[in-house]
Symmetry: C2
Subunit: 198 residues, 2 copies
DNA sequence: GTCTATAATGGGATAGAC
DNA sequence: GTCTATCCCATTATAGAC
């Protein structure tokens, strides 16, 4: 028979983060109350404050973890790839695949930036820029080697990421197109947009 | 000497809409109070309810007007254009230019959809899909005529719009690149992404 | 049309018992 | 570590005076 009181330190922390991530993505940070989160976790509101300093820290920690995990995963995914073309295809497919498995985190990473304190906002922005710089360096390299033909590596990097993020708004795994097919279509569009021969 | 009471019917309505648009874009619908809006307008909170049924209607009216204005402006912009290539270039430049002058409305049109009631959400979605369909029909037409070479007109339309929307996050009129130059760079990327010869 | 005052509800966060 | 109870403050929306 389930306890209704007592210690659940091993599960409450992760459950808090999961519930907050889901609710923030669904309803927005400002529209979600600590009471709602507590109800999802299955504790009373007071208990949450054993795991987070306040609501703001909760949002910040979720965004920071997401960006750090993203950077780490990309470092692994791109290891050993040599040519700009290989690396660009890898980035395209990685970005789509990785983000599609974490749509909630991606969503709040774009939508809830304005609900961060200025200090926290600056930290997340730094991480986000570092990720964008990864793509930009691929483009610059390909431009220098003559593999790519593009006007401006910074703008192109932002345009490519914006285009890839668009996938998240409509892709459904039970939809008309498989993930692999979608990756292929986007890779073809990216490839041509940067002037890279097939 | 300024009146602090009395009728301001001719200015309060528009000022309410302007203030709400700006504040919703800055802080998010849920994070903005009717008191804050009233302070911006320069009236007490009770007076706002002469101009809007409630906060939800305020958001819905802003989004609906934005989408209706957008569609009307595009109808004008594309009138008389014949070839798929001309129409696609017109769409690209129109979308960038039009949205850059209304960043607040664009922002809330994407961010605050989840704060609409289901009924209101459905209405805005219908308008948004109609706009996307404009681009899709250009792509389908260009595909049929052989002017374009692309895999899927629906996905391509969504990808192009997502890419163009990316401009809004970084463009500054006093920045490194002029609006005309930016339009040109994006048109080149769009053109190549859809397999359209120069 | 706008004001002031108020109703009714819910918010984040904390104290102290267990 | 969690609970209950509570503080204090903000919220949307309305009523009635001017």
């Amino acid at each position: 028979m389930a306890r209704t009181q007592g210690s659940h330190a091993l599960t409450t922390g992760p459950k808090l983060r999961e519930a907050a991530l889901r609710l923030f993505a669904q309803k927005g940070y400002a529209a979600v109350s600590m009471r709602q989160i507590a109800a999802e976790v299955g504790v009373q509101v007071g208990a949450l404050y054993n795991y987070t300093e306040d609501k703001q820290s909760l949002l910040f920690d979720l965004l920071q973890s997401h960006m750090q995990d993203l950077m780490a995963a990309w470092q692994v995914a791109q290891a050993g790839l040599m040519t700009p073309s290989q690396r660009l295809e890898a980035f395209t497919r990685f970005h789509i695949r990785y983000h599609l498995t974490r749509t909630d985190a991606v969503f709040i990473s774009y939508m809830e930036l304005r609900n961060l304190t200025p200090e926290n906002f600056a930290k997340i922005e730094t991480l986000r820029r570092a990720y964008e710089a990864q793509l930009q360096s691929i483009l610059t390299e390909g431009q220098a080697s003559g593999d790519f033909d593009l006007h401006d590596s910074k703008i192109t990097a932002l345009a490519v990421i914006a285009m890839l993020n668009g996938v998240l708004t409509w892709f459904r795994s039970d939809g008309r197109l498989s993930l692999d097919r979608v990756e292929g279509i986007y890779w073809d569009m990216v490839r041509r947009a940067v002037g890279c021969a097939p």
